[in-house]
């Protein structure tokens, strides 16, 4: 008879590993090489290594730093509010009831809509004259707050962030609900006997014991925040005057311009940025998690 681990044939992994190697591993490794060449669409068959020229050019481009700033601004704002709002909602809707099921269903609904479609819905909502946001503000006598949400360079990035928060706070909520539900009721009963207040229960039981959920939503929202593309492409496409240029749109622009070597360098810097940030958060958050 065969030994127990020999019954598992390695070949079952082949399809997944093969596809993944060809379309993920190989492109990422060759991206490393391409980033050091001057290859472009105009001299398609002729490309030379040009050392770190692409990176020098990139780091000297003002729009690039602009894009980095905007990307981080967007990522930080969305991480904070997706999680704050999601956590607040989770506390309100965790108990099983028909009404809470309704609330959860509705708040999670935007997650299923394509980012580009959400963008266009919000182009209409943010319309300075006819959009429902300004119409609402005017109706309740808050005309001063009505702004040119997407056309004013001061507010455009924040407006796109608010849209992203609208779409994804329901996702954080659902993760938090699962986290809260996995905490044993015994802890709360013990706390009641000790005379803990609702706030103390939250502070010393709920939050520490659901740190894993925070890790997940933080990582998830910071990665999607840094990778943002469709939301910006669909609303402002980086404008007005590069006020909303992010790494995703900057990369798309350099690609469309046909500077492939340069564009690969942009992609490489982008990738490193996301990996470093995600890595740091993962390490920090893992330390805060408590075992049950």
């Amino acid at each position: 008879m065969k030994k127990s681990t020999e019954i598992y044939t390695k070949w079952l992994m082949l399809p997944a590993v093969l596809i993944y190697t060809i379309f993920f591993i190989i492109p990422n490794i060759s991206g490393l090489i391409l980033a050091f060449t001057d290859w472009n669409v105009y001299f398609f068959d002729d490309f030379n290594f040009n050392g770190i020229d692409n990176f020098v050019r990139l780091f000297n481009e003002k729009i690039f730093w602009n894009a980095v700033n905007n990307t981080f601004y967007f990522a930080i704002i969305t991480v904070i509010f997706k999680n704050l709002i999601g956590f607040g909602m989770a506390l309100m809707v965790t108990k099983a009831s028909k009404y809470n099921t309704y609330l959860r269903t509705v708040m999670f609904l935007p997650v299923t809509i394509s980012g580009i479609v959400v963008s266009i819905i919000f182009v209409s909502i943010y319309n300075p004259t006819t959009g429902i946001l300004n119409q609402f503000l005017n109706a309740v006598g808050l005309e001063v707050l009505a702004k040119g949400w997407l056309v004013d360079t001061k507010y455009a990035m924040t407006s796109i962030a608010a849209m992203e928060i609208w779409q994804w706070s329901g996702f954080s909520m659902v993760v938090f609900v699962a986290g809260i539900q996995s905490i044993s009721q015994d802890y709360y009963e013990a706390a009641k006997i000790d005379g803990a207040s609702r706030w103390q229960e939250l502070r010393f039981i709920t939050i520490p014991l659901m740190m894993q959920s925070f890790t997940i939503t933080f990582i998830y929202s910071i990665i999607s925040g840094l990778k943002v593309f469709a939301q910006v492409y669909g609303t402002t496409n980086g404008g007005p005057n590069n006020a909303t240029q992010v790494m995703g749109t900057f990369l798309f622009k350099s690609f469309s311009n046909g500077h492939y070597g340069y564009s690969a360098a942009v992609g490489l810097v982008f990738m490193l940025m996301v990996m470093v940030v995600a890595g740091i958060i993962l390490v920090v958050m893992r330390k805060k998690e408590v075992e049950f």
Partner: protein
């Protein structure tokens, strides 16, 4: 009485809060059945005199290339979902059962795929070299590639919870490893398969970046038809809104029926860590 009011207050506040999530979708829907002039006002009231302009939908379907885009979405999403389910479950079965450096490396390189953004230029070159640019196969394979990491992750976690004794019993009864997997293990994976199916389908259906980079307009799916309309008919929001409703309805249906699986899939990481 006052106590009753105090109990209802949070519920009422949550109701108002839920309106923030519903109103935008209501606004899109109600304006999709108004005429052009009224739709451009973007109000949330009912159509004037109760006249419903279903003509918007017919016009969008006629002029927006909806049928083609819909078929593109079905082909690309279904194709990638089928490959993802088969390839990821097979791969995860081995990753969950075998121990060793090789398996760790493979598992962690899949995890990397969750973090790293798509390397568009080199991927473009690989597709070009394989003659897969602007083909369904190319798009399906790229969707598959970026759907695999999450799916392998979910399947591996689930298969680890299935006792090995089951495998051994099957082998003693004379099952080969292929038959063991397909006739004994795979049926047990149904809950994860549902989750992977829905998550990958939504992911592929909604993605716009991959078709935009790697194919021409005739391979684009529904979400991008909205964008094309928006460019072409800047003043006709009734058509844009009708197009949006057509685009989001299939997923809303999947969501309402498969809610349980979506939620359990998306939160799997939160519970398992």
């Amino acid at each position: 009485m006052i106590k009753r009011m105090m109990n209802l207050l949070p519920k009422f506040i949550m109701f108002l809060f839920s309106l923030i999530y519903i109103l935008p979708i209501w606004m899109v829907f109600i304006n999709s059945i108004k005429d052009s002039a009224n739709a451009n006002m973007m109000g949330i009231g009912l159509p004037e005199k109760g006249v419903i302009h279903l003509g918007n939908y017919f016009q969008v379907i006629r002029e927006g290339g909806i049928a083609r885009a819909f078929m593109n979405g079905i082909i690309e999403a279904t194709g990638s979902v089928v490959i993802i389910i088969l390839a990821a479950s097979c791969c995860a079965f081995i990753l969950a059962r075998k121990k060793g450096k090789l398996y760790d490396i493979i598992f962690y390189s899949f995890i990397m795929g969750l973090i790293v953004p798509v390397a568009f230029i080199p991927t473009y070159l690989v597709l070009n070299a394989l003659n897969l640019l602007n083909t369904y196969a190319g798009i399906i394979l790229i969707f598959t590639t970026y759907g695999l990491p999450m799916s392998v992750f979910l399947y591996t976690g689930f298969i680890k919870s299935i006792p090995r004794e089951l495998d051994e019993a099957a082998i003693i009864d004379g099952c080969g490893s292929l038959r063991l997997f397909f006739s004994i293990i795979f049926p047990l994976l149904k809950p994860v398969t549902m989750t992977v199916f829905i998550l990958s389908f939504i992911g592929a259906w909604n993605d716009v970046m991959i078709p935009m980079f790697f194919a021409n307009g005739n391979k684009w799916a529904l979400p991008l038809t909205v964008y094309n309309f928006y460019g072409g008919y800047l003043k006709s929001w009734n058509l844009i809104f009708a197009d949006i409703i057509i685009t989001i309805t299939p997923l809303l249906i999947i969501y309402l029926f498969g809610q349980k699986y979506i939620v359990s899939g998306m939160t799997a990481g939160a519970v398992k860590g």
